[in-house]
């Protein structure tokens, strides 16, 4: 494929990758502003640890049949807490099923998470972030919601933004692309975080797309895209904060690909040993986002073994309390099937509702 003549370059693009802390938690250059915010760093660390403790607990609860199918976020904690801590309460999150770290940070309660994964819709009636979207299971469909919500914010002249989180697998779906394109052309306050954890169930990143990076998907939508080390809390936070400030200030949409690794099975219904090498997983074990941040905090005198001990105790107490609350939650009345279907139950359904009440006794 050689070319003979008159051609010119009409567009050029670059994808940047950012990290501030290396695998050992050592600064690899000048640090961002957030590195100086001790309170935030400690809070972030605490929620990352809480996430991981909760995660382990949830896996156990699934094994003992107390909740349903469950997907761990082991190894991805820095991404969720990184971007969530860059959001304001008035920003809106559009999450998928693996972002409970971010949900916890934003005030979704552990009890609510357990209710949801335990098969109870009340788990999506968040007492905390009332305007956040519920967990989106049909992959990438929520990208369009994020765009719509961001449109509403822009229309009303609000200084808010939407964060839409999705996976490497999700980045192959048309909904994602249509959303990127619309976010670009409408110049909306929305930031897409693509959590590239290298696997979409059994499909490895390289069989998901021939694109060298997932950040470059943004180019198709005419918006900036960049990569961050997703196991570096500082990098995720800093780049998201920058993207969000820009977005809230009318600077338009942005995409961040966060490189991380799914340490666990896809969900409890999955057995990753069928399709991936234990060695690959082991190789990633050394690069732990929580350990990285802890080393950094300890180096700055912001954390120590005592603090850790107290934290673990506190986490476990919170989790146990939430579990109790979860288990003590009285069942929903069966007619609730009808009661949130429409604002008011249409007359045509009144009889079915009666029938349900009659027959749920028969069951």
């Amino acid at each position: 494929m050689t070319k003979t003549t008159d051609s010119q370059i009409v567009a050029r693009f670059e994808i940047e990758h950012t990290r501030y802390l290396d695998e050992q938690g050592q600064p690899c250059g000048e640090l961002p502003e957030v590195a100086g915010n001790a309170d935030l760093l400690r809070d972030a660390y605490r929620t990352m640890v809480l996430t991981r403790r909760y995660d382990g607990k949830a896996l156990n609860l699934q094994r003992t049949g107390q909740i349903g199918t469950y997907g761990s976020s082991l190894g991805q904690e820095a991404v969720g807490i990184g971007f969530a801590s860059a959001m304001t309460a008035r920003d809106v999150l559009a999450p998928t099923y693996r972002e409970f770290s971010a949900q916890l940070w934003r005030g979704v309660s552990i009890t609510e998470l357990l209710l949801y994964w335990g098969g109870d819709e009340r788990g999506s009636d968040y007492s905390g972030p009332r305007e956040d979207f519920p967990i989106c299971v049909p992959i990438a469909t929520h990208c369009c919601h994020a765009v719509g919500a961001a449109y509403a914010m822009k229309l009303r002249g609000e200084e808010r933004a939407v964060v839409c989180v999705l996976g490497d697998g999700a980045s192959s779906k048309g909904d994602f692309y249509e959303s990127l394109n619309a976010a670009g052309v409408w110049h909306l306050p929305v930031v897409f975080i693509v959590i590239n954890n290298q696997w979409a169930i059994s499909v490895p990143r390289k069989r998901q797309s021939a694109a060298q990076t997932l950040a470059q998907k943004a180019i198709a939508g005419g918006i900036p895209g960049e990569q961050v080390d997703g196991n570096d809390f500082l990098a995720v936070h800093d780049r998201t904060a920058a993207a969000l400030s820009k977005a809230r200030a009318g600077g338009g949409a942005h995409l961040i690909e966060a490189l991380t690794y799914r340490m666990g099975d896809h969900t409890t219904a999955d057995d990753a040993s069928r399709y991936r090498d234990a060695a690959e997983v082991e190789a990633h074990r050394a690069d732990d986002p929580i350990a990285r941040l802890r080393t950094f905090l300890e180096g700055r005198g912001l954390w120590d073994a005592q603090a850790e001990e107290a934290l673990l105790k506190d986490c476990d107490q919170r989790i146990d309390k939430a579990l109790e609350e979860y288990l003590a939650t009285p069942p929903q009345p069966v007619e609730v099937l009808f009661d949130y279907l429409y604002a008011e139950l249409p007359e045509a359904l009144a009889e079915q509702r009666q029938q349900l009440l009659r027959e749920s006794g028969d069951g």
């Binding site: 809106v92 559009a94 819709e121 009340r122 999506s124 009636d125 968040y126 009332r130 305007e131 979207f133 519920p134 049909p138 469909t141 929520h142 990208c143 369009c144 919601h145 994020a146 765009v147 719509g148 919500a149 961001a150 449109y151 509403a152 914010m153 229309l155 048309g174 909904d175 249509e178 959303s179 394109n181 619309a182 052309v185 409408w186 949130y340 279907l341 429409y342 604002a343 249409p346 007359e347 045509a348 359904l349």
Partner: protein, 326 residues
């Protein structure tokens, strides 16, 4: 009071509600400067601005999903799909999200959106431009599906849809867009949703239809009247939830029922109506229910289209068979 076509009545209802409620926004392909390929949104962008009357990129999944996101954030989006044949990419959003947002979040988030689309055949349109797949949407719990049959119904029902706190799929029979004019007072009065309208009172047989086919059905009723048959004609209007009560009441008086729709027969909305009769009206039926419908075939290109569409004669013949049955 102006004489309006159906498409003008749609336009008037949109303009009325956009003026009354600043949360109403209109989005879709070519809805802006162009005013929609059928002119349903003509003049709206000029009057309400490009921020509220939004030309979207060519992407129907997006159109459905953006409307869901807007609605969750308190807007009242009215999304237009250019033709029903292109609505399917938006089905996922309507089925998996719009219809469920209230249920899933126990009322925390809701989805007051309208998805409008011109639908149906009979205008000799190109391939994929004559779809009537209303039954697909009418199967989805949590949705409303509304079909106007005349300018005044379009005005009143669309206003009701725009004010409804839940998602409505509003299907406009494009063959009727400019078929007739009616005086439509721009008074902001909505018509009730969830009820069938009696388009013509009668006692010998109940004809049930909606949208464009209501006109063939009414004409059939006229022809039958001349032959001494007094037909009642019901305009279903809200296809989901279905007002089976009104249909059953009518059939309990007339004892015979013919259902008319242009969608393919199997699994069309006519099936649900006939099923309702078999379940709840069996004892009043003196003759088999009949469906006069499109065939279970792909709707053909224009040259054969008229053979596919239910005709007045087909309806009249079905009624005669119903009446002759003893």
């Amino acid at each position: 009071m102006a004489e309006l076509t159906l498409v003008e009545a749609v336009n008037q209802a949109l303009a009325y509600e956009m003026a009354a409620d600043e949360n109403v926004v209109v989005l879709g392909e070519d809805v802006g400067v162009n005013g929609g390929v059928f002119r349903a949104t003509a003049g709206l962008q000029e009057r309400f601005g490009a921020e509220r009357v939004i030309d979207t990129p060519l992407a129907e999944t997006l159109i459905g999903g953006v409307a869901v996101g807007m609605a969750a954030q308190g807007l009242r989006p009215v999304a237009e799909i250019q033709f029903m044949g292109f609505i399917y990419p938006a089905l996922d959003q309507m089925l998996s999200h719009a219809s469920r947002l209230r249920t899933r979040t126990r009322g925390r988030l809701t989805c007051p959106m309208v998805l409008r689309a011109p639908y149906g055949g009979g205008i000799h349109a190109p391939e994929h431009h004559s779809e009537s797949t209303e039954a697909i949407f009418a199967h989805v719990p949590g949705l409303r599906v509304v079909v106007p049959s005349s300018p005044s119904r379009a005005y009143g029902l669309l206003l009701a849809a725009l004010r409804d706190p839940d998602p409505v799929v509003f299907l406009e029979p494009k063959r009727v867009y400019r078929l007739m004019k009616q005086e439509v007072l721009d008074d902001g009065e909505a018509l009730p949703l969830d009820v069938c309208f009696v388009a013509r009172a009668g006692q010998d047989v109940t004809l049930v239809s909606w949208g464009a086919m209501l006109h063939e059905t009414l004409e059939a009723a006229e022809q039958l009247e001349a032959q001494g048959v007094n037909a009642e004609v019901l305009d279903v209007a809200t296809l989901k939830p279905l007002d089976m009560r009104t249909i059953l009441d009518s059939v309990s008086r007339t004892t015979r029922c013919v259902i008319v729709h242009e969608a393919a027969r199997s699994g069309g909305l006519g099936a649900e109506i006939a099923a309702g009769l078999a379940e709840q009206g069996l004892m009043s039926l003196m003759a088999p229910v009949q469906r006069v419908t499109g065939y279970d075939t792909v709707i053909p290109l224009s040259r054969l289209e008229s053979h596919y569409m239910p005709s007045v004669t087909r309806i009249v013949n079905a009624v005669k068979r119903a009446l002759e049955f003893a």
